[in-house]
Symmetry: C2
């Protein structure tokens, strides 16, 4: 019981940041003497520190704040993308203590190369920091088995049947969890972003591929054997282009980066920066509709499906979608409400863009790593 | 603890039927003396009975079977459909102890009329039986709020904002739970049908509308505020017919009863029996493709979406879908495997028809009623 309360308290401090003993007692439904014993124990082990808040509020004696100590537990977060790998060491409380990233070209994209580079780069960062890693979390744009981090298919990386969890975990020498990138971003949005406090939310993002993660009744939704769904491979256009997955007119083929390039009349392989610049240059409603009319329609159809299937209160759009004209996002939100009877039933599903920036998957990968180890801190 | 074990034992007997004390001990992970105390207690209160099996197996002394006693707990199950209402009194163990049904025409479909008729018909059945009802479960083809059984929209019944749980529960004078019909059928398939033992399964059925229920990680999936998703309103044909929901080309408009009538060149409103007879008359592959080619394609697209989104091991097709040619179902299953990368990841999602017959929603409604009350028996 004490163990359980200790973990709950650490989780609260880790996710929501410094707070007072009194607030902890209220939020966790524990009495003050229990909180005192827990905080004293954690302070003694150097996991938290208590200190006076910087800004005083009110006239009375200020309450001490309980702060998580970043170095008390450090995890490795890895974000493997099609064109780049980013890693970060993240401390208790979510602070990034060190980071590195590199681009992927040709052979560097092969699993063995990625694993070697991640391990070497981590060793450099960890040596600088001087604290051991207690766990690792990895984001991969593909179909991943949760139990052991086996990557069944990551088509845009051209990976098939890669035992990533086993190999990378073995090389790092710490517990590891591997997740689908969209699922991991959904976790980040749920714990630290727009979906905080939401029990039912969906995160959808467009990178080279399109993926989605679902929070249902407060937890991440998974299918058989821990495989997470592939929202990007919903068919939204049965007469559309063939997709590598064996289907045609998948959401990914209609609203992914390539679809945006087609709409903007940019050649395949245009650098991401140029795609974003062209999106930002669309200013008038007429131009937006002329260039992105079909794109908007297929984005809407996919979102209607997601809202009708999951009944979320909130859909967060990430990555390349955050560069879309705000007026287009607003129109899509209104149209989803008009076309989805489930949106109407739940009182109007909100559609918004992520404000977590490009670190969202790193942040989520760190949380994936922290989840099972907070009770061991 | 004893209470918890007692409920677990009752649930096992209720769902899986008569068994021996020894098997109960193994399945529930309890020792024999605990099982003996529980069974003796239940037998004393008349909730179970112990008796010799009818057929002897082996040479030794036969083990006594523990049997749930139907009259120890009786619930009301109500299946409200667009064209018919069926009710049943169901005893502990799942036996139907009495039933009645009637067709709905015109004004009889109004909520007040349906409620009055259900209450009157229940009183007649309950008086015959002589046992009190301990709970009621109701299946409705619409968007239902789980917490209080409020029906937000049941478009094919033309119901909007009907406080069904409150009104019917009040009139019956017992606890009541109301659910979406496809969700309830999924519950029945999960507890007593093809999806028994499956942690991830989807049930999809076509009546006038098309609906689906999802079992994810062993439990029913729900969205915000307990609203369940509307799989029938996934868009599978963006250039398709307008749907009353505000969207167009919904799965329901492409594979529901009306779509079947169009494919079979039957007028709208053709009696269900005639639709089924025409489906059964399709015998050659050429005729099936000529008549149901488009239908098969949209059935496939919707199932690909469902498999890619939920990653189930099994999809069960119910109601009108069970009248489709078996060769068509088999082809659709193969095609879903070919087009869904998630199906490949989970080792091949099976697609099959329900074998529970037209009572599936009644059976599920009874289970919905039993769920929260087994610990009060």
């Amino acid at each position: 019981m004490r163990r359980h309360n200790r973990t709950a308290l650490l989780r609260r401090l880790h996710v929501a940041g410094p707070t007072t003993r009194a607030a902890l007692a209220t939020e966790l439904g524990l009495n003050r003497s229990t909180i005192k014993a827990l905080v004293d124990g954690l302070a003694e082990s150097g996991v938290v520190e208590e200190r006076l808040p910087r800004a005083r509020s009110g006239a009375g004696r200020p309450s001490l704040l309980v702060l998580p100590q970043p170095h008390a537990a450090v995890v490795l977060a890895v974000d493997i993308r099609v064109e780049q790998v980013a890693i970060a060491l993240v401390g208790l409380g979510g602070e990034m203590l060190g980071r590195n990233s590199w681009n992927l070209h040709g052979r560097q994209r092969e699993p063995a190369e990625v694993i070697t580079h991640v391990v070497e780069s981590t060793q450099v960062l960890a040596a600088d920091l001087g604290y051991p890693l207690i766990a690792a979390g990895v984001s991969v744009p593909g179909v991943v088995r949760r139990s052991d981090g086996f990557v069944h298919e990551a088509p845009n990386l051209q990976w098939t049947n890669v035992p990533l969890g086993e190999r990378l975990g073995g090389a790092l020498g710490c517990p590891i969890r591997v997740g689908n990138d969209a699922e991991i971003a959904a976790l980040a949005e749920h714990l630290r972003g727009a979906a905080r406090g939401s029990t039912d939310a969906v995160y959808v993002s467009a990178d080279v591929g399109v993926g989605g993660g679902v929070i249902s009744d407060g937890s991440a939704l998974r299918g058989t054997a821990g495989y997470v769904g592939e929202l990007g491979h919903m068919v939204v256009n049965p007469r559309g282009r063939p997709c590598y997955c064996g289907s045609r007119g998948c959401w990914e083929t209609e609203v992914g980066e390539l679809a945006l390039c087609r709409a903007l009349r940019l050649p395949e392989g245009t650098p991401r920066g140029a795609v974003i610049a062209d999106l930002k240059a669309l200013r008038t409603p007429e131009r937006i509709t002329a260039v992105l009319g079909d794109f908007r329609e297929f984005l809407t159809v996919g979102l209607v499906n997601i809202v009708n299937v999951f009944g979320p209160e909130l859909v967060v759009l990430g990555d390349l979608f955050t560069a879309l004209p705000p007026s287009l996002i607003a129109e899509v939100g209104v149209e989803v409400g008009r076309r989805s009877l489930v949106s109407r039933a739940v009182g109007g599903t909100r559609v918004m863009t992520s404000s977590m920036g490009t670190d969202v998957k790193l942040i989520g990968a760190a949380e994936l790593a922290f989840e099972p180890v907070l009770d061991m801190v």
